[in-house]
């Protein structure tokens, strides 16, 4: 069957050598993912984090005719955040409460389903969510809300191995899609609301043995440790809850980190609080830090830097770009971590000046007060974890921008293990303005916004770009939308009946292209009639 599928796919996807009946996803296939655009092998579609599909059967000329081809229901409540993987006709996804499933990618019919029996006292921050799997060899890999890493047999869903990353009762959980590099499965931990000490782990894909751990907060004697007051480093947060990128040329894996804890109270943790809200360049084999760049020093507004770092090349320069939750778009030289530019892509009031390196610095007035101070962007950020995309055809970077402000307040709070540790509260300002969003196309060369598509309210959907000249995104009103990547004109939309809290992807099988997105409790696949 696989042969037939692949031959058919080859009819319109030219230029790649296709498959024998291979179930094995080798490290080489992950490196060469561009050679098999019919598949979606990693969370972001490639190691560079671009969320770009080279498929072009669905394009600006025919997108208006898209129709739903199938829907798969998890029957679960809460946010459905998965980006599925597709390998040779089989789709692998995750659902709420640490579900995982394999489907026939043509029909949505399940091949197997898995659901973890989660303990009653898990400590998820913001929903019982999971964003997806990694695949390597004959296994798929899941990070769980009780802070385990689990390998499932890709053909059956049987558990191949199951290891504990950390004690979940202390507030640790895993929500991201792991990253497979060589023979390693790399994950980061969530829990910035609980006073954890964040880390990034790499596990042997075959055995589950932990091969390295990088603590995102340096311990005594390590550089950066002095950026924490007293013992605050032990409970300083800095989780790493979004999937990193990988540059094979330098064997560097790029990861981003979240807020220092407690999120909205700087008192008691004087200093820059390294490596919270940072970009980390790690050696993929050892987890050793090559360099770091901190986006927001000593953050007091929950401005996690956990947005997928996107790698791109321009004028012979190896760049890393990120639209940060704090409202700035950063361009960084990824060979050394030097900041090249930063520009606001949404409403920002927390910063109105830059330091010598060009990094935005916080205004004094933005510091949370006991009664609250109004700051933009709000705690949910100018964007959040939903993926952006880089389209090499237009050269634009597309991001879901949120226009919303909050009133940030603060209060002293003792730390108790496993208890919420915000030291604060935030709430919307009463006049409800601003309260909207936009898909924005940014030119990375200038930081200028080339076009925007307005959302009636701030959205939580990621963005996919395709070689068909399209970008796909969703909104909080439940629409899944195809737009012209060059102009921002909407070409098609589908009302999914629930807000989109996921990042879309594309794949092909039997010579037919599909675009898939999760919304509500359903995963939808769309195609041409």
């Amino acid at each position: 069957m696989k042969n037939t599928i692949c031959k058919a796919a080859a009819l319109f996807v030219c230029g790649f050598l296709c498959c024998s009946a291979r179930a094995q996803v080798t490290p080489q296939r992950l490196l060469d993912s561009a050679k098999e655009p019919q598949n979606w092998l990693t969370y972001s579609g490639d190691y560079a984090g671009r969320r770009f599909s080279a498929l072009n059967q669905i394009n600006t000329a025919n997108a208006h005719g898209l129709v739903p081809k199938w829907a798969y229901q998890t029957m679960a409540g809460g946010k459905f955040e998965t980006t599925p993987l597709v390998v040779d006709g089989v789709l692998y996804g995750t659902g709420q409460d640490d579900r995982a499933f394999a489907l026939d990618a043509r029909t949505g019919r399940p091949i197997w389903q898995y659901q973890r029996a989660l303990p009653a006292d898990i400590r998820p921050c913001c929903g019982r969510v999971n964003r997806g799997l990694a695949i390597l060899g004959d296994k798929v890999f899941l990070g769980t809300l009780d802070s385990h890493v689990v390998a499932l047999d890709a053909k059956t869903g049987n558990i191949a191995w199951d290891v504990t990353a950390f004690d979940y009762t202390k507030g640790y959980s895993i929500t991201l899609a792991p990253l497979a590099v060589k023979d390693l499965i790399i994950v980061g931990v969530s829990g910035g609301e609980y006073g954890i000490r964040g880390f990034i782990d790499a596990y042997d894909a075959n055995t589950g043995e932990r091969r390295w751990r990088f603590y995102t907060i340096p311990g005594p004697g390590e550089p950066g440790h002095e950026s924490w007051e007293g013992e605050s480093w032990k409970i300083g947060g800095a989780p790493a809850w979004i999937t990193g990128s990988y540059d094979p040329a330098t064997n560097t894996t790029f990861w981003t980190t979240g807020n220092p804890s407690p999120s909205n109270r700087g008192e008691g943790r004087a200093g820059d609080n390294l490596y919270s809200n940072s970009l980390l360049a790690l050696d993929a084999d050892t987890g050793k830090l090559k360099w770091y760049f901190q986006f927001t020093k000593h953050d007091e507004h929950d401005y996690d830097a956990t947005q997928v770092p996107v790698l791109l090349e321009r004028d012979g320069k190896h760049l890393l770009v990120q639209a940060n939750r704090n409202g700035f778009f950063y361009v960084i030289d990824r060979s050394n971590g030097k900041l090249l530019s930063s520009s606001a892509y949404g409403k920002v009031t927390w910063s109105s000046s830059k330091d010598a390196e060009g990094r935005p610095v916080a205004n004094k007035e933005a510091t949370p007060t006991p009664d609250g101070s109004r700051v933009c962007p709000g705690a949910a950020g100018a964007t959040n974890w939903m993926s952006p995309t880089f389209d090499p055809q237009t050269g634009f970077f597309y991001v879901t921008a949120r226009e919303q402000c909050d009133i940030f307040s603060t209060a002293a709070q003792p730390y108790q293990a496993g208890h919420a540790y915000y030291g604060s509260a935030y709430f919307p300002n009463d006049d409800a303005a601003p309260f909207w969003g936009a898909l924005r196309a940014i030119d990375p060369a200038t930081g200028k916004i080339k076009w925007e598509w307005k959302h009636p309210s701030p959205a939580w959907s990621g963005v996919l770009s395709t070689a068909g000249g399209l970008v796909f995104t969703g909104d909080a009103e439940g629409n899944f939308i195809a737009l012209d990547a060059a102009s921002g004109k909407a070409l098609w939309h589908f009302q999914a009946g629930a807000s989109v809290y996921s990042s879309p992807m594309a794949y092909a099988i039997d010579g037919k292209e599909y675009v898939a997105v999760a919304a509500g409790s359903a995963l939808f696949a769309f195609g041409l009639p």
Binding site: Q115, A117, D162, A420, D431, H493, G520
Partner: protein
């Protein structure tokens, strides 16, 4: 409750579902409420409860539990969904179906709370509760006459099934909003537009914004937005006619945050009348 089996798997063989219809729902276990708060009158519990409150509740109920735009003032002794400790526990843990109050742990904001933490929050709420009598200044009977009569509130507002549709139904409003909030909404209706239907996965519901449209035939309509997205509009015009539009077919469309409700200043509605109407609303909402 997780039946001792480490994990659940379901297999489908060759398309023939070996499918047990029941999926094990591993969700938040509803803790069974005791009748009395075991942490009652414990000042330390109240203090810890304040942190939980800030993290989980203040987003809607405001700092100090004094009510925000979206959640009721909880410092009042009278709680809409029950005053006993057990009632409060149930409200917090299970949420209030049909309202924006979510079950514990299911909110998009904050974290799930343990049973102990819920009791701490209840201790905190008790500690900030204002010990005033339910007696209020206004005359509810007179307020009723005004509401349905000369003040013309019922032209647009429904109360217990009677009245107009253009504005929000006020049946439960007094239980969910502070007196100051209600008075301000009467005096300055455009300051904070009331909210309409709530979509389960949307962070905030639609508001009572004023909309003016010209349809494809050139006909003009003014009214309130019931719901809206980028492509469609569901509105009620001032004659309470429902219109469902596709935006790309409209000749004109504009929306404003200027409420259709007139500003009831002291000339239109003396302070005494306002108090009577608020008293009537309070009575109606506690029934």
């Amino acid at each position: 409750m997780s039946v001792g089996v480490s994990d659940m798997r379901r297999r489908f063989l060759g398309g023939i579902a070996v499918h047990a219809a029941l999926l094990l729902v591993v969700g938040v276990i509803p803790a069974r409420a005791q009748d009395k708060n075991p942490l009652a009158n414990d000042p330390n519990a109240a203090k810890l409860g304040e942190f939980e409150f800030r993290a989980n509740c203040a987003f809607c109920h405001g700092l100090g539990a004094r009510g925000g735009g979206r959640g009721p003032d909880l410092t009042r002794t009278q709680k809409k969904h029950g005053n006993s400790d057990a009632d409060l526990f149930r409200t917090i843990n299970e949420g209030v179906p049909g309202t924006a109050m979510p079950p514990n742990g299911a909110t998009q904001q904050g974290v799930g709370m343990t049973e102990e933490e819920i009791w701490q929050v209840i201790s905190y709420i008790r500690s900030v509760q204002v010990k005033t009598s339910a007696q209020q200044a206004g005359n509810a009977a007179r307020g009723k006459d005004l509401f349905h009569g000369s003040a013309a509130c019922a032209t647009c507002h429904m109360l217990q099934g009677k009245g107009g549709r253009l504005g929000p139904d006020l049946t439960g409003t007094a239980g969910a909003r502070s007196v100051e909030y209600i008075a301000d909404s009467v005096r300055n209706p455009s300051r904070r537009l009331a909210q309409g239907i709530s979509e389960s996965m949307k962070e905030f519901s639609q508001e009572y914004e004023t909309v003016n449209v010209v349809d494809e035939h050139g006909q003009k309509f003014q009214g309130v937005v019931l719901n809206e997205d980028n492509f469609t509009l569901q509105m009620l015009d001032t004659r309470e006619q429902l219109h469902l539009f596709e935006k790309d077919k409209l000749r004109a469309f504009n929306k404003t945050r200027e409420s259709l409700m007139p500003k009831y200043d002291e000339k239109m509605l003396p302070e005494k009348d306002l108090q009577d109407i608020v008293a009537y609303l309070s009575n109606a909402s506690s029934k």
